[in-house]
């Protein structure tokens, strides 16, 4: 029946169903809007199921052969993922009446789908910019001063990334004559090297590489509870896809990835805003994926994309549970929360499922993908990388697996009494939690079936399960021990300095004084000039006689002028005859 339905509908570019859904949300209200918004991702996903690998809708533009839609296993995997994520996020946002968020959310999802199916660099660039322009409204929709500022900083970084991508793409297209978005790599000579690096950095900014990561930790926690779910799903995953497509096996990525996996966990331990903890843990998870892309074997690449797939779901679930807490209590700081398990038991359990998944407990989704990356690191002889990833994996459990549920739902009773979030929020979380368990338990039938590269990998053997359980339980033991001895850092209302300090404090710190002193100097100069001109005027005008002082500015009687004209004419006459 479904296939006959699909035959009735025209085959559209993959991003269009979501875009149509978002346009419909502008005009429709009430249940009709809800239905259309829910159908849009379903329609899009069914379309993907019917489409064959290949290149579609090619056309010429300014002599360039554009391939707006390229379907292969890699793009399909991300395509399915984004439709799934959009569906879950839409369910989570159904209770909202805010048209701006609905429209922005779905068009953002559409841009992400467009980007992963883009077969050429120009199309990629267009969707790259659309991702930024649509998503920023999910931050501004919070309608606070902080959200406005964070949104501005977010969009500046995103536009910077877009400009770099465009510049790099233009260099590439003019040098190679091809617009196709294929493997780029960093091994080039001359101007091509510059182009490849520009594209690499453009991807890196969106991927939250170290020093470029603060747009994420700055903006995501300031977005709306529902907006954060969309945000956590798309941008960084599009970046991971782009790296996997353009720079697989680039060794530099291993080192960047391992840094990303390690440093945010320190911040996550001391961060008070629980959604910001999740933002840091997102960089940490993306770090695992970047390592996988950098290693570049089929096992590692499969691990990277599988982990991206799982991360969208379990990070979405954790974000949703914290969004539910924020929505119901108006608070999100660990220092103000605690004891919510009594009034939000279902949310608590769903959050714990997300926590178990991100910590890679056996039978939960993180386990089946993270272990692929770890195995690939050992297999390729990256010993210290493997050791660092192991540390990062233990750290994830520490901050995302234990800290999030513990400080929100347990710890001391904060005295907050609330209820479970709206039904649609619970439903969205339940879908995500179910998926986490199904994927974790039956990986071969679910996420592994979508993997782009051929590889035979079995996550469930006694060694993997035992070692992972040891790692996790003893990390938990460390938490329990530190907590019992009062050595665990308490949740404190605070701001922790990060790279954004450079552009939020240092640069304004000296640019603003310079600006004001320049402005002051300009004012002084203007005043001096004014005084000078006024003095000049005063000197040349006699106020008493009401006439200018200068000789030539005097008023002359008319006969004097006639006399001079006569002299002049006489002079000309004489000159004429001489």
């Amino acid at each position: 029946m479904i296939s006959s339905l699909l035959e009735l509908l025209p085959q559209l570019p993959p991003f269009l169903p979501l875009l149509i859904g978002s346009l419909a949300a502008i005009f429709l209200r009430g249940h009709l809007r809800s239905v259309i918004m829910l159908l849009a991702p379903v329609w899009g996903a069914l379309q993907l199921a019917a489409i064959d690998p290949g290149v579609y809708w090619t056309f010429q533009l300014l002599g360039l052969e554009l391939e707006p839609v390229r379907v292969d296993k890699l793009s399909l995997m991300f395509g399915y993922l984004f439709h799934l994520a959009a569906f879950i996020a839409v369910v989570y946002a159904l209770h909202l009446k805010d048209t701006m968020q609905h429209v922005a959310g779905l068009s953002y999802a559409a841009s992400a789908v467009g980007a992963v199916f883009a077969g050429d660099l120009i199309t990629l660039f267009i969707f790259w910019e659309l991702l930024a322009l649509t998503s920023v409204f999910l931050i501004w929709a919070r309608r606070t001063d902080r959200a406005y500022g964070a949104g501005m900083r977010y969009i500046v970084m995103k536009v910077l990334s877009g400009v770099l991508l465009l510049t790099g793409a233009v260099i590439f297209i003019t040098q190679t004559g091809s617009v196709r978005f294929e493997e780029i790599g960093l091994e080039h000579d001359g101007i091509l090297k510059l182009g490849s690096w520009l594209i690499f950095i453009a991807f890196g900014i969106k991927c939250a590489f170290p020093f470029f990561h603060n747009w994420l930790t700055d903006a995501y926690p300031e977005s709306t509870p529902t907006g954060a779910i969309f945000l956590a799903s798309f941008t960084t995953k599009v970046a991971v896809y782009s790296l996997a497509r353009g720079f697989p096996g680039t060794e530099l990525l291993v080192w960047i990835g391992v840094t990303m996996a390690c440093f945010p966990i320190f911040y996550a331990v001391i961060e008070n805003d629980l959604r910001r903890v999740l933002a840091y843990s997102m960089i940490n998870q993306v770090g695992f994926m970047v390592v996988g892309v950098g290693i570049g074997t089929s096992l590692a690449l499969n691990g990277a994309v599988a982990h991206a797939f799982n991360d969208v779901i379990f990070k979405g679930l954790l974000m949703m549970s914290m969004g539910a807490v924020l929505h119901m209590t108006g608070r999100i700081n660990g220092s103000e929360l605690g004891g919510l398990y009594k009034s939000m038991p279902k949310t608590t359990i769903l959050c714990i499922v997300g926590a178990a998944s991100i910590s890679a407990f056996p039978l939960f989704s993180g386990f089946v993908s993270k272990s692929m990356i770890m195995s690939a690191a050992v297999a390729e002889g990256y010993d210290y990388v493997w050791l660092a990833l192991l540390f990062a994996a233990a750290g994830v459990f520490h901050h995302a697996g234990i800290k999030i549920p513990y400080f929100a739902f347990f710890a001391h009773d904060s005295g907050i009494r609330t209820t479970e979030p709206p039904k649609n929020m619970l439903a969205a979380m339940t879908i995500a939690a179910t998926l986490c368990i199904i994927i974790g338990t039956f990986p071969a039938q679910t996420v592994y079936a979508l993997l782009p590269w051929e590889v035979d990998y079995q996550p469930y053997d006694i060694t993997h399960v035992l070692t992972q359980l040891q790692l996790l339980f003893f990390s938990a033991l460390a938490f329990a021990w530190l907590n019992l001895r009062n050595m665990y850092p308490p949740e404190l209302p605070s701001t922790n300095l990060d790279t954004d300090w450079f552009y939020r404090k240092l640069t304004p710190g000296f640019v603003v004084p310079i600006y004001y002193s320049v402005m002051q100097m300009m004012n002084k100069l203007e005043r001096l000039a004014n005084i000078g001109i006024r003095r000049l005027i005063r000197m040349s005008y006699d106020d008493d006689k009401n006439q200018p002082k200068g000789y030539f500015a005097k008023l002359w009687p008319i006969e004097t002028m006639v006399l001079w004209v006569a002299f002049l004419l006489a002079g000309i006459l004489i000159l004429y005859y001489v």
């Binding site: 331990v269 040891q470 339980f473 938990a476 329990a480 922790n496």
Partner: protein
């Protein structure tokens, strides 16, 4: 309803907490014991150390927290630091 919410929950009774912790400690011990019984597949030399993963997980997390506490001394500012 409000009475029910205000009475101490399951996780606030000290006897429940200590029971949970005991179960947890037993699992930890069993996992280490299992390390000596089960034949683990060794992919890397370091894994030959008995209970390598348990030690690494515990020590790693303690160091993580201790470093984070030091970081707080350097990096922590008041909540409204950027709002001024």
């Amino acid at each position: 309803m409000s009475d029910e919410h205000n009475k101490p929950g399951f996780f606030e009774k000290p006897e429940n907490i200590s029971m949970i912790l005991k179960v947890f400690y037993v699992i930890c011990v069993l996992l280490v014991v299992a390390d000596f019984i089960v034949h683990r597949h060794i992919y890397h030399d370091w894994e030959n150390i008995p209970a390598f993963y348990a030690i690494y997980g515990f020590v790693g997390c303690v160091i993580l927290v201790l470093i984070a506490k030091v970081m707080r001394k350097i990096l922590m500012r008041e909540e409204t630091y950027y709002d001024k």
